[in-house]
Amino acid sequence: MQLETLISRFQQKDEKAFEELYNMYSDSMHGVIYNIVRDHDIAEEVMQDVFIKIWHRASSYDASKGRFFTWILNISRNAAIDKTRSKAFKNSGKNLDAQFFVDILETSESLNDKTDAIGIKNFVGKLAKKCIEVIELLYFKGYTQKEASETLNMPIGTIKTRNRNCIKELRQMVLGS
């Protein structure tokens, strides 16, 4: 089924369509959330909330304003960041030091047995550090270009082209294109 059809059926509260979208995006959203909260159970909890939220807010999605993936990505990042700001989370004493998503790939024992994930792990390890930084901030953390340029201390234009080149490299690794 076409993504657009699926989304429009989802917006008409089709439960099957919802489940299909869940299957498409739950792993990646869990990864993004996990990278922010760094706790498996909390990440699942936040992800659950995210999917419940998108069901209730389905009608507010507008394809002309962005990709469905981008929409759900924004909701996920915000929910995860909100979680890290909650009192209970702060009291849990989680260490959220400047660790990048690649650190998870390197340290995670429980990396699922999906073969392509293992493949990515091997590829991503080969990504240059400058790529890891920029992808971490723009994709995983949702920084604006300006925030990223300040954090990495480089011009906005450089951020933009570096991001392009790095994702291009990633595509070659994971998609072969």
Binding site: E15, K16, F18, E19, Y22, Y25, S26, D27, S28, M29, H30, G31, V32, Y34, A43, E44, M47, Q48, F51, I52, W55, A63, S64, K65, G66, R67, F69, T70, L73, N74, F101, I104, L105, S108, S110, L111, N112, K114, D116, A117, I120, K121, V124, I135, L138, Y139, F140, G142, Y143, Q145, K160, T161, N163, R164, I167, L170, R171, V174, L175, S177
Partner: protein, 266 residues
């Protein structure tokens, strides 16, 4: 429009990760409809990022989707479940109220129980303090008695029984005289309480000629419990006597009131 240059600018990556303004988003959307190359590029970027994101996930539990569907009260799982959510809600509600009620009653009972226990505890504390006092008293008492026993057993002690005299045949007393430290211990248990305005007076006597020397009156006789009194005596006594005298005592013994008398064994 130079599509390649547009793609190479990196705007599409920012589009997918959500860094563009509303206006820029609208623009990209329109160009995607127009140019399939741009749409394909966006799809490829998106696919790569989805894979990257998923690779960071330590794995999503299989039950998560069920939990979400439950929370959203989806009915698509099986048709016979249709009625279930309602009855379940009611059941939960009733159970909730029942649990709240039980918890409330339980709480009251606990509070009450706690109060009673506190009262019992303070009672026990009082009792405890009282018993401690008693034990302390008993200990003191015991120590005093042991001390007395030690004194009476002393090898230097001379024991002088004083027998009842005349009308007071039932009276008796005993004197334990320690010549070494010039003191006597008078055991006057065999004497009645001194009547109002009267006092017991103890005398040391020499017999030839009969000369009484007052050893003093026993002012606290009636209130003393063990009726044993320590009295200094530096005299060369040959006998001891006890008379009942007017309060304050007398210069010489009133012989009609001589209750007990005993001679020191030679």
């Amino acid at each position: 429009m130079d599509i390649k240059a547009y793609i190479d600018s990196g705007i599409l990556e920012l589009y997918v990760t959500g860094q563009l303004s509303e206006q820029e988003n609208q623009e990209v959307y329109e160009l995607m409809q127009q140019y399939p190359e741009i749409l394909d590029e966006v799809l490829a970027i998106e696919a790569a990022l989805i894979k990257l994101g998923a690779s960071v996930s330590p794995g999503v539990s299989k039950t998560t989707i069920q939990l979400i569907k439950q929370q959203l009260e989806f009915t698509s799982e099986s048709s016979k479940v249709v009625q279930l959510p309602k009855s379940r809600t009611n059941w939960f509600t009733y159970t909730g109220w029942a649990a709240a009620l039980i918890a409330g009653v339980g709480l009251l009972w606990t509070v009450n129980q706690n109060k009673q226990l506190e009262i019992q505890l303070s009672d026990a504390d009082l009792e405890n303090a009282y018993l401690e006092t008693q034990i302390e008293d008993a200990k003191t008492d015991l120590a005093a008695k042991e001390n007395l026993l030690n004194i009476l057993r002393d090898k230097d002690i001379i024991s002088v029984p004083l027998g009842g005299q005349g009308n007071f045949a039932n009276s008796y007393a005993k004197v334990y005289w320690n010549k070494a430290d010039n003191s006597i211990y008078l055991d006057a248990q065999g004497l009645p309480d001194a009547p109002e305005g009267k006092v017991w007076q103890v005398w040391s006597l020499t017999l030839n000629p009969l000369t009484p020397t007052s050893l003093g009156t026993i002012e606290d006789f009636n209130s003393d419990e063990n009726k044993i009194f320590t009295i200094a005596n530096a005299n060369e006594s040959e006998a001891f006597g006890i008379t009942l005298e007017p309060a304050g005592g007398s210069e010489s013994p009133t012989m009609e009131q001589l209750h007990t008398l005993g001679v020191v064994a030679p």
